[in-house]
Every structure is written in C-alpha cells, then in structure tokens.
C-alpha cells in the first residue's frame, strides 16, 4: 500500500493529477445537473402559474 501511494517517488505528481481531474470533472457535472433541475423546476412553476391565470380569465369573462 505504501509503495502504491509512493508511486516510485512520483506520488506527489501522479496523485494530484488524478485528483484535480476527478474534482474538475465532478464539479462540472454537478453544476450542469443542478442547473438543469432548477431550470426544469422554474419551467413547471411558470407553466402552473400561466395555467391558473388562463383559468381565472375564463371564469371572469
């Protein structure tokens, strides 16, 4: 295990390479998925509001 982490003396270069790659890819993915979810929620809310307004207009007239 110690040998594996040491990477023949290059551990200080190998592990940060893998770590930053994982972090950047995960962050971009999570940010993208969150943005999709929040936009979808906004869309559903607006759709419901507009539907209600149209109902109200119908009953008024």
């Amino acid at each position: 295990m110690q040998d594996f982490l040491n990477m023949g003396g290059y551990g200080a270069f190998v592990w940060p390479s893998y770590a930053i790659t994982a972090v950047v890819m995960l962050v971009l993915l999570v940010v993208s998925v969150r943005s999709l979810k929040s936009t979808e929620a906004t869309y559903k809310r607006l759709q419901a509001e507009l539907g209600q307004e149209q109902e109200e207009q119908k009953t008024e007239s």
């Binding site: 594996f4 990477m7 023949g8 003396g9 290059y10 270069f13 190998v14 940060p16 390479s17 893998y18 930053i20 790659t21 950047v24 890819m25 971009l28 993915l29 993208s32 998925v33 943005s35 999709l36 936009t39 979808e40 906004t42 869309y43 607006l46 759709q47 509001e49 507009l50 307004e53 149209q54």
Partner: protein, 240 residues
C-alpha cells in the same frame, strides 16, 4: 440530421439515451482507472510518473475534440440555421475548456519531474494555452449581447477563426523544437506504445468521450428548457 432538428424530439431522445451513456462512462472509467493505476507497468524511462499520461493525453485529446465539435456545430448553425446547433456548441464550450485546463495542469505536473520545469513557452504548450483562451473568449462573447441570436453568431464566427489553432497544436511537435514528446499513438505506421499501456489510455479516452456526451446532453436539455422559460415569461408579461 433534420429528423433530430425538432427540440421536443431531441429532448425525448436525450432523456432516453442518457442512462446508457452514464452506465458506459462509469464502467469504462472504473476499468480504465484500474488498468492505469494498478495493472499497467511502469515505464522503463519515466518510471511510475508515466501514469500521469492516462489522464493527461485523453484530456488533451478531448480539449481538441471538443473544439472541433464546437467549430462544426457553429458552422452548421451559421450555414443551415439548425435550431440545435447553437445549443450544442454552447453546451460543448465549458466541457472543452475544462479538459484543456486539465491537460495543461496535468502536463505541468508531469513536466516538473520529467523535464525539470512546470512550464516552457514552446509551441505545443503555448498553442494549448491559446485553445483554453479561445474557449473562454467563446463563452464570454456568447453572453456579451442583449440579443441572444447576435451573441450566438459572433461566438460562432470566433470559433471558426480559432479552428486554425487545431492543426497548429497537432503538428507543433513536428514543426518546432520542443521539450514535449512527439505523437506516439496517432501516427504513421501505428502506435509505438505497448498494448499494456495503450489499453488504459484508450479506455479512459472513450470514458472521457462518454463523459462529454453525458454533460452535453444535460447542458443541452438545460438550455432548451431555459428557452421555454423565456417564452413563458414573455407570455406572462404580455398576458398580465
């Protein structure tokens, strides 16, 4: 292509294929990482530091691949006004920028122990840095106009002009003296790397492609939903 031009149909297809793309990406990443870190041998010259290659090279390939995709999508948007092309181009830019950034950082982490320096201003490294700035410029220009269509058009033109950088990156190691090693996988006469090192490289390269498609689908769905939100907001403003 025009069968997929309908955003509603695209949303349906994108939602359907996304779980498959996710599964392939996760499996290939797991197997690729196992081979890259555990089962592949150390290099006879570079020792264990060669393992940086398995993230550095696929990231650099993706940085260029995404830019080619971005430029092609932009050309399609400019010429045929395909309604999804701008959306695809816009969704590609952050992924390409991320991969280009990663290739620069992991390259630096590989360069320090192998070359004795984090950075040199040679053609390969400099043209890769320019690629990163092209992505940043594209994203900034896209959002710089109040009229979204104008922003999309200006950014598309920038991306086509910037495409000249791609062959410069590819051939920079042949045209100019550099510390960077020449191509050893995609070259005349076949690859000069052993199969035990080629496998993890290819698996992670395909895993990164899967990741790109995954994020691309998510971001395109977001952009198309955002368009629908804008339409509803406009309706609300007029109706109310």
């Amino acid at each position: 292509m025009h069968r997929f031009a309908n955003p509603t149909r695209f949303l349906k297809i994108a939602t359907a294929i996304q779980p498959w793309v996710m599964a392939v990406t996760v499996i290939l990443t797991a197997v690729g990482l196992y081979m890259a870190l555990i089962s592949s041998p150390a290099d006879y010259q570079q020792g264990e530091s060669v393992r940086i290659m398995y993230v550095h090279v696929p990231a650099a390939w993706m940085g260029m691949f995404c830019y080619a995709a971005l430029a092609i999508a932009s050309a399609v948007a400019l010429i045929w006004k395909h309604p999804l092309a701008d959306v695809a181009a816009k969704a590609t830019a952050p992924v390409g920028a991320a991969f280009t950034f990663l290739s620069l950082v992991t390259g630096s982490l590989w360069g320090k122990p192998m070359w004795g320096t984090w950075w040199v201003w040679d053609a390969r490294l400099t043209s890769m840095l320019i690629l990163f700035f092209l992505y940043i410029g594209y994203m900034a220009l896209f959002d710089a106009f109040d009229d979204r269509a104008r922003g999309a058009k200006a950014a598309a033109i920038l991306s086509l002009v910037g495409a000249v950088n791609l062959p410069i990156i590819k051939f920079s190691v042949n045209w100019w003296n550099t510390l960077h090693q020449p191509a050893s996988v995609i070259k005349m006469g076949g690859p000069s790397i052993d199969a035990s090192m080629l496998w993890p490289l290819f698996l992670l390269a395909i895993a990164f492609k899967g990741y790109y498609i995954w994020v691309l689908l998510v971001r395109m769905r977001q952009e198309l939903t955002a368009n629908k939100v804008r339409i509803l907001r406009a309706k609300q403003a007029h109706g109310g």
